[in-house]
């Protein structure tokens, strides 16, 4: 379970509201189910005390919400940022997507977030309540009564391979600062690379064919903040490319992966929100892994204003031909 509690965050938010430092709070609101937590803008202490939650199901990364929220009204927005969220926060600042002065960022520690799908695999459907107790989560179901699952065994994939417990941006930090972790997040990509071309195509076809084009991955993605998305712009020649063949979803996801390449911080929100559970983060991680191996380690959002290798040039850059050969070598 989380080391920091909802009450501590509410107390912080209320005191900042009362001091006039902020005018509203971007936080997690209780949903219909315990695992169904919703991002919400709280404007007063009353609503915070009533609905604000923080537990093992608060995975939502609020960085992107700041783009729209900071434009809406005067005054600062308080945002709670988990370590991984701060990378998106910085990346958005690098791209000038919101005004830093309009935000009051509070960094909060994170013990990793639970994946409801993993819980359901153990307990089955019909979950009526979830209560975190130490390293266990008590699951009450309408069919089988109470069950206990290990928190560690139901951690979301992106938290199992967490890249950083360190905040790279905040105005104020609650709790202790963590470290950049030595994650094994590229292992899955390496497995894909080890496949033959046909196997890999079959893998992606089986995954992407599940896509219902709900656009949740795009809407949640902190790197997708275009004023007008190319997929919704009839002037853009890309729009109809994504519907050009029977396997149209592949073009949508490939084009999207290219659009966020070099800017994706690997926050994993795309995979979290996908209702079809497509491991979309793997496409982005493949790009990150390639960029790291071609141009040297680069973490988008690690600092504000950094120049991503794909929009930078140094004389040490790999020659395009070499990159192609390297790519083919890996796939052979």
């Amino acid at each position: 379970m989380q080391k920091i509690t909802a009450d501590m965050l509410i107390e912080k938010a209320v005191s900042l509201l009362e001091a006039g430092t902020i005018s509203r709070v971007l936080g997690w609101k209780k949903g219909e189910f315990d695992y169904d937590v919703t991002p919400y803008v709280f404007a007063d202490a009353e609503s915070l005390k009533k609905d604000f939650v923080f537990d093992d199901f608060c995975g939502a990364n609020f960085s992107k919400y700041l783009v729209a929220e900071t434009r809406k009204a005067e005054g600062k927005v308080l945002v709670f940022l988990k370590p991984c969220d701060t990378y998106s926060f910085n990346q958005l600042l690098t791209e000038h997507r919101f005004d830093r002065e309009a935000v009051y960022a509070v960094g909060i520690p994170c013990e990793g977030m639970a994946d409801i799908n993993k819980i359901k695999e153990i307990t089955g459907d019909g979950i009526s309540s979830l209560t975190s107790k130490g390293d266990k989560i008590v699951v009450d179901t309408i069919y089988d009564g109470e069950k206990e699952v290990d928190f560690a065994s139901v951690l979301a994939e992106r938290c199992v391979s967490c890249k950083s417990k360190k905040h790279v941006a905040y105005d104020e930090l609650m709790g202790d600062e963590g470290d950049i972790t030595d994650s094994a997040r590229f292992d899955e990509v390496a497995q894909l690379e080890a496949m033959t071309e046909d196997e890999r195509f079959a893998f992606w076809q089986s995954q992407l064919s599940k896509c219902i084009r709900c656009n949740a991955c795009r809407d949640i993605c902190p790197a997708c903040t275009c004023e007008k998305c190319v997929f919704e712009n009839p002037e853009s020649p890309v729009e109809n490319k994504a519907i050009s063949d029977s396997f149209e979803e592949k073009m949508f996801h490939i084009i999207r992966a290219f659009h966020v390449a070099g800017r994706c911080t690997d926050c994993g929100e795309c995979s979290r929100v996908c209702p079809q559970n497509i491991p979309l983060h793997l496409l982005n991680r493949k790009f990150i892994k390639d960029i790291n191996s071609f141009y040297g380690e680069y973490q988008a959002g690690a600092e504000v204003g950094s120049r991503a290798p794909l929009v930078d040039y140094t004389t040490e850059d790999i020659e395009p031909g070499e990159a192609v050969m390297k790519g083919e070598g890996e796939n052979a």
Binding site: H96, C226, E227, P237, R307, L310
Partner: protein, 664 residues
Amino acid sequence: MQRIGVFVCWCGSNIAGTVDVQAVSDALAHEPGVVHSANYQYMCSQAGQNLIKEAIEEHKLTGIVVCSCSPRMHEATFRKTAAAAGLNPYMVEIANIREQCSWVHKDMATGTEKAIILGKAAVAKVNLNAPLTPGESPVTKRALVIGGGIAGIQTALDIADAGFPVDIVETKPTIGGKMAQLDKTFPTLDCAACILTPKMVDVAQNENIRIFSYSEVTDIKGFVGNFDVTIKKRARYVKEDICTGCGLCTEKCPMKNVPNEFNLGMDNRRAIYIPFAQAVPKVATIDPEHCNMLKNGKCGVCAKVCAAGAIDYKQQDEYISEKYGAIVAATGFNPISMDKFDEYAYSQSKDVITSLEFERLTNAAGPSSGHLVCPSDGRHPHTIVFVQCVGSRCASCSEKGKEYCSKICCMYTAKHAMLTRDKYPDTEVYVFYIDVRTPGKNFDEFYRRAAEEYGVKYIKGMVGKVSPENGKLHVQASDLLADKQLHIEADLVVLAAAIEPDKSARPLATMLTASMDTNDFFTEAHPKLRPVESPTAGVFLSGACQGPKDIPETVSQAGAAAAKVIGLLAKDKLTGNPCVANSNELMCNGCSSCERVCPYGAITYVDKEFRMPDRTTKVRRVASVNEAVCQGCGACTVACPSGAMDLKGFATKQIIAEVDAICK
């Protein structure tokens, strides 16, 4: 809807020999928007152009596609033709069916099929073309010459004589380059210094020329007519404007054992030095790696003896920013390293030397005051072996040398051999060669004189091994004509090392966005017709940085480059390229990706008010392109994540229409 005319050129049999031109014009006649399609023997001829003009008028064409040679050849021609008939020149597209079809395909069916596809792509693009109007940009009337050897000197003098200011940037403390190190010059045998130093003095005295010696170019931005260059003037710890060049400091400096690079390390200089007597500028330079005062703060002798008070141990590197209209690369060459040629014992014996070292040995101002001696013990050499093509004309698989011919070695070796025999008739001189190449005015006569009148023993064959034995050099070689092995006991072996471009050329090419070949020689815009221009507008090439050259060739190329620069600087304005980037502000996110990738600094960001759907006004940060600065490279259009940035004349939509036409 456009009304498009298609004109298929036969180019005599160049195209028509492998492409069925009738089939191409028939096939394209049915493409969307095409109202007229014709073919003709030579579209670029007056008659062909008239055909186009008449069709534009008769069919009220709004755009044309010419299926012909590369747009590099005749795009300008056909644009002018269209303009003469009242059509916007940017409504012309070229489908290259010669270089990309007839010349690369042997089979008529394949060539024709591809020509039709390329024609369709061009038609698809013209359908989306819009008339464009070019802007103008001013020309900075000052030239930059990078490199102060004979190439740079001649180019600078010629530009300056036409009345334009020129700056020379030279990395060494003095201009003069390799020519200053030479003794005599072929084929007339005049002394190199005697003909070079007057030119150096001319440079120093010319009011239009500034010399930045001991300096390097660290940054180049901008484009033809408007380059912004940063020059780093390295600290020489001597005030240039005060030093009189008296040389007293160079005599009194206690650091006596610094290898003298001007004499290729064959003798020593002091830590404060003037490279040679006729140096320009004649100013001392302190070598910070060897100066005790700079390293340890102890000494200060030079400052004490300097009557002018020119020594400044606290001098810092200085960065100078200047604007130029044209840039000339004259970075020159160096002999390659002999490290990989162990068979010639270069590293084992001091008596195995390179030809450039031989020049210094025979030069009156050299380490032996012009007496030809063995560097090991100073004895007079009786048997001298010259080895040609050391590292030149190597097999492509060889990792040791260069594939190309270094061009100058045959002649300078003939010169060395002749001069040696002339001055020391008691010597025996052998020259081992693969071929002797002497094209050039009076060159073959010169070589024959060496072989026939001066008794130089020319032997066709290569030296296999040189081994130092008992103070002599045992040379094993083959005589291919006599078909026998030779063993020669030599006192001195001289290696004609291949030459390669100076190491500074590659980073410079990157800064200039100028192209290079695999050997790091600068590439010319056209090997025959534009030999002194780089494909990058406003960048010109002078001397050996473009390929191996002797002095007469270098000087003529230097003059040619100067003429091109003068032609450019004489203009007040340059007509720009209308194919520039433009940003759709409604779609722009203000993310700065385009600003970061723009090599010309053409993109800035502005805060602009936008009316929102709810009738409120919001200020957003959006990209704004300075069209006069934009060169239309298109880097921003691919960096833009939202597709807001596009290139006029090469819009993403147009390119995709072409690709679609090809893939259909």
